[in-house]
Each structure stands twice: as C-alpha cells, then as structure tokens.
Amino acid sequence: MLGVALALTAVGAWWLRRRDGAVRAAEGGQERTATAVLEGLGVRPGDAELTVVQFSTAFCGPCRATRARLQQLQATRPGLAHVDVDAESHLDAVRELGVRRTPTLFYLDRAGRLIGRSSGTPRPEELTRLVEAHVAPAPARDGGGL
C-alpha cells in the first residue's frame, strides 16, 4: 500500500511538472464561448493589447504570487491588462469555462481572441515571452506591426 501511494505521488508530481502553469491553446469551438463568457463578466479585451483574466479563490496559495507577477509585468508593459475574478462568486462562468483549479488564466488579445489558457502558477519565462510577444514595451503603438 505504501508502494502504491509512493507511485501515485510520483505520477502526480510528474504530471504537475508537465502541465502545471503551461499555456495551452484553446480547443476548437471553445474560443468564442470563452470570450463571450469573459465579456459577460465585464472583461473588455478591446481596452488593452493583452488581457489576462485570472480566476482565484481565497483558498489558493499560488493565486497571490501570480497576481504579483502580473502586476510586476504591467509596470513595464502598460498595454497589459489584468482582471482578477473571484471564482466562488461566479460559479456559472467557472462551469461554462471548465475552470477546475485556481489560478486559471485566460489570455485574450485586443480583438477578443482567446490566445490560450493556463492552470496553476504560470511559468515565469513562458509568461514573460507571451506578454512580450503581444504587448509593446513603454507607450503602446496603435495598429500595424505584428
């Protein structure tokens, strides 16, 4: 029994290393619904180059660290918007979006397209890369460049 428990732990740890915090692309068809649900919560992707919507709960250790990291990124990338949603008071949206864990993050571009989502503490390098790919440093320029 002890062996089984140790094996389960090893599998769990391995799964976490692979999945935790990794940004996944939205599955087909899910994109539109997700954007609609998030806009229903008052999220306005058109206001920023990249909007990160974070679902949090009070019983979530990594949520605070994630929030701090995003706020830190915002300091150098003003085109980044961060919206914190309390998962518990929006359970309908949580179900529609298939949010199972916190923090779960949704990344929306200015057109409201869902770029991806991630669950767990985002990986620092991946998050930075994503932000840098979508948000220009310092004063944001309008339109144009890729």
């Binding site: 029994m1 002890l2 089984v4 428990a5 140790l6 389960l8 732990t9 769990g12 740890a13 976490l16 290393r17 935790d20 709960t57 009070a58 019983f59 979530c60 250790g61 605070r64 998962a87 518990e88 008071s89 359970l91 309908d92 949580v94 179900r95 949010v99 199972r100 864990r101 916190t102």
Partner: protein, 148 residues
C-alpha cells in the same frame, strides 16, 4: 521565549507548512506500514488543531517554529494562512475515515484513505503542491449555484 509572532495571524512562514507536510508524510507512511489506526487517529487530531484552532497552534508548525526556524535564518516569504488551513481540513477528513476504517476492522478502507492522505501530504512536501487547496474549487463547483 517564543520567536517573534508574524505581523498578522493570517500569514505564515511558507517553510512551516512545507516542513509540517514532511512530518505528516512520515507519520502516515509509518501508519500505513504498521496498519496502526491509533497513529492515524493521532494524525487526525493534529489536522484538527490546524484546521480549527489555526496553524499557529498546529503541533508540527509549533515544532518547526521553536526548533527549526531559529536555525534557518530570517523569514523570506510569507503566505496566507487560509489555503493551508483548508488543506488541514481535507487531511482531517481522510485521516478520520482512515482511522475509523482501521479501528472498526475495515483495514482496506483504512489503508486507502490513509494512502490518499499520504499522497496529498507528499505532493505538498516534495512538490509544494497543495492538493487540498486545489480541491476547494472542485467542491464548490459541484454544489448547485445559489449565490443570490
């Protein structure tokens, strides 16, 4: 002399719960090996103190603060207490089922529940992953929506 208290009762040194998770893992592993319901019941009592009285009074946390923390140097990082406290409650549920299983002559129930508690404690200790905290939203989701 007690070491200095945290500025608010709502935050704990991140190393505390992690160290406590190692102790919990060791206790549960021994309980699994020996099939001791009494040991699981003792661990349940430890969980109960942490969950209901707060981590400040949690036995392993106190041991950490008094014996280990002073040797480790200053606190680098604090975390909110609520998630870890909720996890103690989840641990309590598993430990109670485990102890009841062993003590009432259903060793399989005892072993499965104790084993699951061990997995959760080990994941927390080794990977810093709080399974109890993650379960919170899952439990809340399962309940019918009645927020008005």
């Amino acid at each position: 002399m007690l070491p200095a208290h945290p500025p608010t009762g709502r935050e704990v040194d991140v190393r505390g719960p992690r160290a406590a998770a190692w102790v919990t893992s060791a206790v549960l592993a021994v309980a699994l090996l020996t099939g001791s319901g009494v040991l699981v019941a003792l661990q349940a009592a430890v969980f109960a103190v942490g969950a209901f009285a707060g981590l400040r009074y949690a036995p392993y946390g106190v041991l950490f603060r008094v014996l280990v923390a002073p040797r480790l140097g200053p606190v680098r990082e604090r975390e909110p207490e609520a998630p870890a406290r909720f996890a103690q409650l989840v641990g309590l549920v598993f430990a109670v089922v485990g102890a009841a299983g062993y003590l009432s002559g259903a060793p399989l129930v005892g072993a499965v529940a104790t084993g699951l508690a061990l997995v959760a404690a080990l994941l927390n200790a080794a990977a810093g992953f709080c399974l109890g905290c993650e379960l919170y939203l899952t439990v809340r989701r399962a309940r019918p929506a009645r927020t008005t």
